[in-house]
């Protein structure tokens, strides 16, 4: 089974900052970025980025070099990013909200780290790095003396533009590199397919280290719109919602679980700032449809929710689905839709043969979006990159480890990780299947299922967030079990059910399964909670 994205020609040098520069030339006075009361035009942002690029070039920092950016959301963050790209180098986002020990580990994993851009608020966090840290504010006199025009650097679509850290199954974070061509292709697709334009003003709400944040940061600058940045290191629903209310913002990119928090805010406190948006682009984890249905059905909701799928290794987004087209039925999972331009989705079995329509296989991605691989060491993970011939053309391909199928409408459905599947008493089980079944039960708001190995061969433990606000109104365990037994094979019904106020999330907003597995330990010392 193969889903083929539309073939759309890219410029000979699909280089992201050139697109930004074209807006700086045609609409120099348009506002490029608003942050904490500061407002900077395209011309000014371009000039500041050019000066920083000259600074980097003069230090020999160009193609192949990495510039760490350890800054809070600010105008300087965009100056650092654009300046790095213009110099021909690649930037690595370093989230200042990470614990210092984590940042130290990450810094040690960046090859050819030439420089780090920091601020007085972040400088102490990057002290351990072998590379020098600079502060753009302290450098301002020096930078002011450098040319305001772009340096002449030969950047190609195949050069790396950014690299983000992704959690590795081996325990060491992997530094995943994205190429200009892939990033350009992604934003060109979003712009053309969804009609983004110079009025598609954006608000960034996600953490800087996240792959989707790179796209959220650059897309408005790619289409000539205004970028709004929150002067907040941590996600803050109050501030985010206030900015949506006060500014003319049309587009938000975020993890699905971040959207739940914004929707909860709007539902609890009133308002229509979310429903008035043009687009919310979500993804990054399985969608809990029930968290959005009431909001999506609100009268006058004119916001298009795009449910997207992708991996950091292939420039973040590979497919997109208009959530308005979701109908429960054939699959209770919201599909993730069709491929981006110049992108193919392959569903293959273990012998690398294509599976049939409706059959499950492993998701492979090929095309323009496939990245440059991992920068920190080869390792077994590198084997996930290979080549494939599509229409007589050799394309690079990435094996995602995700399990999916194509539904009767021709949309991709992703049904969990190949490696999230667990074995309990010899049976292969995907916990997300059970979570979806639980989520459909009355009285259950959401659920997460893990395998606890604290007893015997391991058993499934379901963590349930009750639908009511009061934990006193916990769903009756026996009742839940009975209803689940009616929906799932017996071996998929968890041994234990634990009500918790909310599902713990990782810093990137995904379900923190490790924390839940850890929490299982307490089940076996406190007899009151055992079934």
């Amino acid at each position: 089974m193969i889903l083929q994205g539309k073939r759309v020609a890219l410029p000979p040098a699909p280089v992201v900052h050139k697109q930004f520069e074209s807006h700086a030339h045609t609409t120099p006075d348009a506002v490029a970025v608003v942050c904490a009361g500061q407002q900077v035009t395209y011309a000014e942002l371009d000039a500041r980025a050019n000066r920083f690029a000259h600074f980097l070039v003069a230090r020999g920092c160009g193609r192949g070099a990495k510039v760490g950016v350890c800054l809070d959301y600010s105008v300087d963050m965009l100056v650092a990013i654009l300046g790095t790209l213009k110099a021909g180098a690649a930037y690595v986002p370093l989230d200042p909200a990470y614990p210092p020990a984590r940042l130290k580990l990450l810094l040690g994993q960046i090859p050819d780290l030439a420089l780090i851009v920091a601020s007085p608020a972040t400088a102490a966090m990057v002290e351990s790095a072998a590379a020098e840290a600079v502060d753009l504010q302290q450098l301002s006199d020096h930078l002011a003396a450098l040319p305001a025009a772009a340096p002449d650097t030969a950047v190609t679509g195949d050069d790396v533009c950014y690299a983000v850290f992704t959690s590795g199954s081996t325990g060491t974070p992997k530094l995943t590199a994205v190429r200009h061509e892939g990033w350009f292709n992604l934003m060109n697709w979003l712009t053309l397919e969804y009609g983004l334009h110079s009025g598609s003003h954006n608000l960034v709400v996600s953490a800087f280290g996240f792959d989707l944040s790179q796209r959220a940061l650059m897309t408005p600058l790619f289409c000539g719109a205004t970028q709004h940045l929150m002067a907040s290191r941590n996600f803050d629903a109050m501030m985010a919602y206030r900015m949506l209310t006060q500014h003319e913002i049309r587009v938000v990119h975020c993890a699905s679980s971040t959207l739940y928090l914004l929707v909860d805010w709007e539902s609890a406190r009133g308002g229509d700032a979310l429903t008035r948006l043009d687009y919310i682009l979500i993804g990054g984890e399985p969608l809990k449809v029930e968290r959005l249905t009431d909001w999506a059905r609100r009268e006058n909701n004119t916001c298009t929710v795009l449910h997207q799928y992708g991996v950091a290794e292939c420039t973040d987004v590979a497919t997109s689905f208009d959530f308005a087209g979701y109908r429960p039925g054939e699959h209770d999972i919201a599909p993730v839709g069709r491929p981006a331009y110049n992108t193919e989705i392959h569903l293959l079995d273990e012998q690398l043969r294509g599976v049939g329509p409706g059959e499950y296989g492993e998701v492979y991605i090929s095309g323009a979006s496939v990245g440059a691989g991992y920068l920190n060491g080869s390792g077994p993970e590198s084997a996930k990159f290979s080549t494939v011939v599509v229409d007589g053309e050799t394309r690079r391909m990435y094996r995602t480890g995700d399990r999916g199928c194509v539904n009767s409408a021709g949309d991709l459905v992703v049904a969990g990780r190949m490696d999230a599947q667990v074995k309990v008493r010899g049976m292969r089980i995907d916990p997300t299947d059970i979570e979806r079944a639980l989520g459909r039960l009355d009285g259950v708001r959401e659920a997460a299922v893990v395998v606890s190995h604290h007893v015997g061969d391991g058993e499934l433990v379901a963590f349930i967030v009750p639908a009511g606000d009061d934990l006193g109104e916990q769903p009756d365990e026996n009742d839940v079990r009975a209803r689940l037994l009616a929906a799932l094979p017996r071996n998929m019904v968890p041994a234990r059910f634990v009500s918790i106020p909310r599902i713990p999330l990782s810093p990137h907003g995904k379900v923190d399964r490790a924390a839940l597995v850890d929490a299982c330990r307490n089940l076996y010392t406190d007899s009151a909670t055992t079934a």
Binding site: R233, N234, D236, A237, M238, D264, P501, R502, I503, P504
Partner: protein
Amino acid sequence: MIADQVRAIWCRELQRDDIADDDDFFALGGQSVIMARIQVAFIDELGAEVPVDQMFLNPTVASISAYIESQGAVTP
């Protein structure tokens, strides 16, 4: 006392009844989603708009109460 009200909110949202004024929010099992709930409770019950960044910087009942007091009268 603001600290009493703050402690009551923390106890409710963290599902504990044994929180001391200098206990660390994260050590008590707190995380970002709970923080979002506490932010709402501060607005609804104390009339105080507290940025999440301030909650990270002031992770105890004592310090966040002092922050709220330092902000003076706030509109509910």
